[in-house]
């Protein structure tokens, strides 16, 4: 329902066509992009219910709303090998009937109580989101409990969602960003689950059975791999029994299959033909995982190179100086089992090779020389100064609480993050630039008219 309203050029270009974990990773990255002092409101409490459910809570009763975000570690990486798309399909079915309520009755109840419930599958986690008006806590958590613990998986909604998902996959078949994204993943990740599309393919989605869905749900929805973030007009004491109501009935231990560390291979060139006026370009190489000691340095490096501001090198060289593109971006993407670096743009087809040369040259320049003193100082100022912008809404904060826990970050992260950025030296950033951009070759994907 929500429109992509603000249309920052980078955010739009970045998130579009990326799926699952990548989108979540981008969200993490962008929250990292944020002030000197975060926010008084963002004091995080660790709440443990009587039943042992842990949640991170930021209490704030300025508006009579509560935002609850949660996630189960696992995601599409837990899909059966021959059936990618199961987790994603499950995400469409949890609000389609649970307990005594069939699809229509469940939806009607959500509407009557103005409760919002949504789910999404990422590469490494399955995410859920509950929004409620603060005087309807009981009923909202009751509906959440039904969805999580007693989903019906009735035949009608399964067939309806299957048709809708296949329709979306068919549409993506001619979407340049979606094509580029898939080509990139298969080229880089080989046999690893990350090579498989989160949405599945038309064939695999057609083949997914109710048992596949129920089995995925049974294996991966458990207390052992659950993280919860809550923000809004609710106290710890109020929250505890509600946590037990929603999450208490889940099995204690998830049965996750082992996902191996990915060994991405870079350097290939992939092309797909699409009769568009533009050629869509995606490039990528090795990145860093979230707990790599150089991760934050790489994050700062990326901000200078092509992250989110109108002063990045790529923005200046590709867009401002030469007018080659409207959107040009780069990102460090920390998956659970691999770190990658991505960049992209879309440019007029007859100048695609020139644009690609500029991207490549800028990557090399950063790898060889790193940022200047001034660029580094400006980036620190921006990244620390803008952190407060991530805390002006409950939903925004709840999403961060979940990301932090999925990434095993400490509970005082909001208060220490800016100091970590301040402590970086130019040498740190140069070293990270070399590790990311100076060691592995680039994988290049282009999607456009065949003559380009």
């Amino acid at each position: 329902m929500t429109e992509h309203q603000s249309s920052d050029r980078t955010a739009a270009g970045l998130v579009r066509g990326l799926s699952g974990r990548l989108a979540r990773a981008v969200a993490v990255v962008s929250f990292l992009a944020a002030s000197a002092l975060p926010v008084a409101a963002a004091e995080v409490q660790r709440v443990v219910s009587d039943g042992g459910i842990v949640a991170w809570l930021v209490e704030d009763d300025a508006v009579p709303l509560v935002a609850v975000d949660f996630a189960f570690d696992g995601g599409a990486a837990q899909d059966p090998k021959e059936r990618p798309g199961v987790a994603n399909m499950l995400s469409t079915l949890l609000d389609e009937g649970a307990g005594e309520l069939d699809s229509a009755a469940f939806q009607q109840k959500l509407e009557e109580e103005a409760v919002r419930l949504s789910f999404s599958a990422g590469r490494d986690a399955f995410n859920g989101s509950l929004r409620l008006i603060s005087d309807r806590k009981e009923v909202a958590f009751e509906l959440l409990s039904l969805a999580l613990n007693q989903p019906r998986f009735d035949a009608d909604p399964i067939e309806r969602m299957r048709a809708q998902l296949i329709s979306g996959i068919n549409r993506d078949a001619t979407d340049p960003e979606a094509i580029a994204s898939r080509l990139w993943s298969t080229s880089v990740f080989g046999d690893h689950p990350y090579a498989r599309p989160v949405d599945g393919t038309a064939e695999t989605v057609a083949a997914i059975t109710r048992d596949d869905i129920a089995d995925y749900h049974r294996r991966t929805f458990a207390r052992s791999n659950l993280v919860v973030g809550v923000v809004g007009a609710i106290s710890a004491e109020e929250l505890k029994p509600l946590l037990d109501k929603a999450f208490g009935p889940l099995p204690a231990e998830a049965e996750l299959v082992d996902v191996p560390e990915a060994t991405p291979t870079f350097g290939a060139t992939e092309t797909a033909a699409l009769p568009n006026p533009q050629t869509t370009i995606r490039v990528g190489t090795v990145g860093l995982k979230r707990h790599d000691p150089d991760y934050m340095a790489a994050y700062v490096m990326n901000h200078i190179l092509g992250g989110g501001s109108f002063s990045s090198r790529l923005y200046r060289e590709v867009r401002e100086t030469r007018g080659l593109a409207y959107s040009v971006w780069s990102a460090v993407v920390p998956y659970s089992y691999a770190g990658v670096f991505l960049g992209g743009t879309a440019t007029r087809a007859d100048r695609a090779s020139e644009t690609l040369e500029i991207l490549t040259a800028e990557f090399k320049r950063m790898a060889d020389g790193g940022p200047t003193d001034k660029e580094f100082a400006d980036a620190k100022r921006f990244l620390t100064g803008s952190y407060a912008l991530r805390f002006d809404g409950s939903g925004k904060i709840a999403a961060q609480l979940v990301s932090l826990q999925l990434d095993d970050m400490p509970i005082d992260y909001f208060n220490t993050r800016n100091a970590q950025i301040e402590a970086l030296t130019l040498d740190d950033v140069k070293r990270a630039a070399k590790r990311v951009l100076g060691e592995a070759p680039l994988t290049v994907v282009t999607v456009g008219p065949s003559s380009s």
Binding site: V39, A114, G395
Partner: protein, 466 residues
């Protein structure tokens, strides 16, 4: 920076809310019925006007020490001179090219150094610029934004590459996307004579001719304090904004008297029209239909609200008529819905769409959509229950909109820039609540099949689904 808001005409209050705002009033709920009493949106909003005519709206929200600072100009693509399509949006890009005292890049550098985010967008009826910053930097933002209200400097050296950027933006958003090409053609067909039929980003051959002189002429005509609305939302109160505004914007003299926004009236045709696009890039076919309907500004009291409720009854969620009948019961479609672009200066559009199941023709689906709409206007009017649920969904949107100061700023800005008032925003939920079921049926009668523009998005012949 510099985004086109193709969707802007459908930024009704309702759809703005869908994105997330600050309701000052307490929200009451009736536990018996589960219904929600209509909240007052932005009950704590304050407004005043400076001596030079600049309207100011302040929406306090003290949850975080940040502010959203926006300036809305009451000018959009529908105000462009004939032959200069795209100039409103092109000027929006060029507003980042520097002024007499602050050369190109300085403002963006200051925003960035202070940890701020900035952007801008253009619609058919307005153009807006904003920054989000920690509250202590608000005065600086106001100073720079006031400066570029009057002192923009353009050179061919920065205008020409930026025109290329805009052409690439057009390719990316429009020419790369068959569904956007179809939507453009449908608007051109629906809005007979009216400039809403011209794409916001402009016709390609006209964009190619736009130059520095065109941009400055447009700027000098429309960018003046008496044609703008300043909106500040966040960790601040009205008194402080007033003081800062007088020190910054208050020093900008009136530069022009903007002309009345009178546009050619969109012609109404009782002739069904069809736009049929077959494109090799189409891999999922679909059909949509649009009708010319009143906007919040042109409608009789209550009629636009009824259209918003109708859009929910027909197309909001899985219990809506189009979804229930076409997707769940008749199994003709994999998805279906409807929406209404209410916040516009002039007559606007109502749209319904469907994506067929495999084996179902677009014509069959179109016919089924028309029958559902005709029944809603005729022998199967919306039930009290359907109307109540539709209102509940709209009211829930307003309640959840409380969570974002930026959304709040956008709702007030978009409404004031299209001729609405603060009271219009604040009382919108009550007016929705007051819509009678008969008015929703009457709204459906504004959508007769003969007046529809139908758009077909197809695979090329020979690639039809079996």
């Amino acid at each position: 920076m510099k985004a086109i808001q193709q969707a802007a005409r459908r930024l009704t209050v309702a759809s703005v809310f869908g994105m997330s705002l600050a309701v000052g009033a307490a929200l009451a709920a009736d536990d018996e019925t589960g219904t929600t009493e209509a909240p007052v949106i932005g009950a704590n909003a304050a407004s005043f006007t400076l001596d030079n005519g600049l309207e100011v709206v302040v929406i306090p929200d003290h949850r975080a020490p940040v502010v959203t600072h926006m300036v809305w100009y009451k000018v959009g693509s529908a105000d462009e001179p004939v032959g200069k399509s795209g100039i409103a949006h092109f000027l929006e890009h060029l507003m980042f090219k520097g002024t007499i005292t602050h050369p190109e890049g300085e403002f963006s550098r200051i925003v960035s150094e202070n940890g701020g985010e900035e952007n801008a967008f253009t619609s058919s009826d307005y153009t807006a610029y904003y920054q989000r910053v920690a509250r202590e930097h608000l005065a600086t933002m106001m100073s720079y934004e006031a400066d570029r209200m009057a002192h923009l400097v353009l050179t061919d050296a920065n205008v020409v590459p930026e025109r290329q950027v805009v052409l690439e933006e057009r390719s990316m958003r429009l020419d790369n996307e068959p569904s956007a090409i179809l939507a453009t053609a449908m608007d051109a067909t629906l809005f007979l004579q009216h400039p809403y039929g011209v794409p916001i980003i402009g016709w390609k051959d006209e964009i190619e001719t736009l130059d520095r002189t065109d941009a400055i002429a447009f700027y000098d005509r429309f960018y003046t304090p008496n044609n703008a609305v300043l909106v500040v939302a966040g960790d601040i109160e009205a008194d402080e904004v007033r003081k800062l505004a007088e020190e910054t914007y208050g020093k900008v003299a009136r530069r022009a008297e903007p002309p009345a926004r009178v546009r050619a009236r969109a012609g109404v045709l009782d002739t069904p029209r069809q736009v049929d696009l077959a494109d090799p890039r189409v891999s999922q076919e679909s059909v949509r239909a649009s009708w010319l309907v009143p906007s919040y500004l042109t409608a009789e009291p209550g009629a636009a609200e009824a259209l918003d409720v109708l859009a929910e009854v027909l197309g909001g969620g899985i219990s809506s008529r189009l979804y229930r009948e076409l997707v769940i019961e008749q199994r003709l479609a994999v998805s279906a819905g409807a929406y209404y672009r209410g916040s516009a200066l002039d007559a606007t559009s109502f749209m319904a769409y469907g994506v067929p199941r495999e084996g179902v023709s677009l014509e069959t689906l179109r016919q089924a959509i028309f029958e559902i709409i005709a029944a809603t206007a005729g022998d199967k009017p919306p039930t009290a229950d359907e109307v109540a649920r539709a209102k509940n969904r709209l009211l829930a949107d307003t309640i959840y909109a409380q969570d974002s100061q930026t959304t709040m700023a956008r709702i007030f800005g978009a409404t004031l820039a299209t001729g609405g008032t603060i009271a219009d925003v604040q009382q919108w939920p009550s007016r929705i609540e007051a819509v009678p079921a008969e008015a929703v049926a009457a709204a459906a009668a504004l959508l007769p099949a003969p007046r529809a523009v139908t758009g077909y998005l197809r695979k090329p012949a020979g690639e039809q689904p079996s």
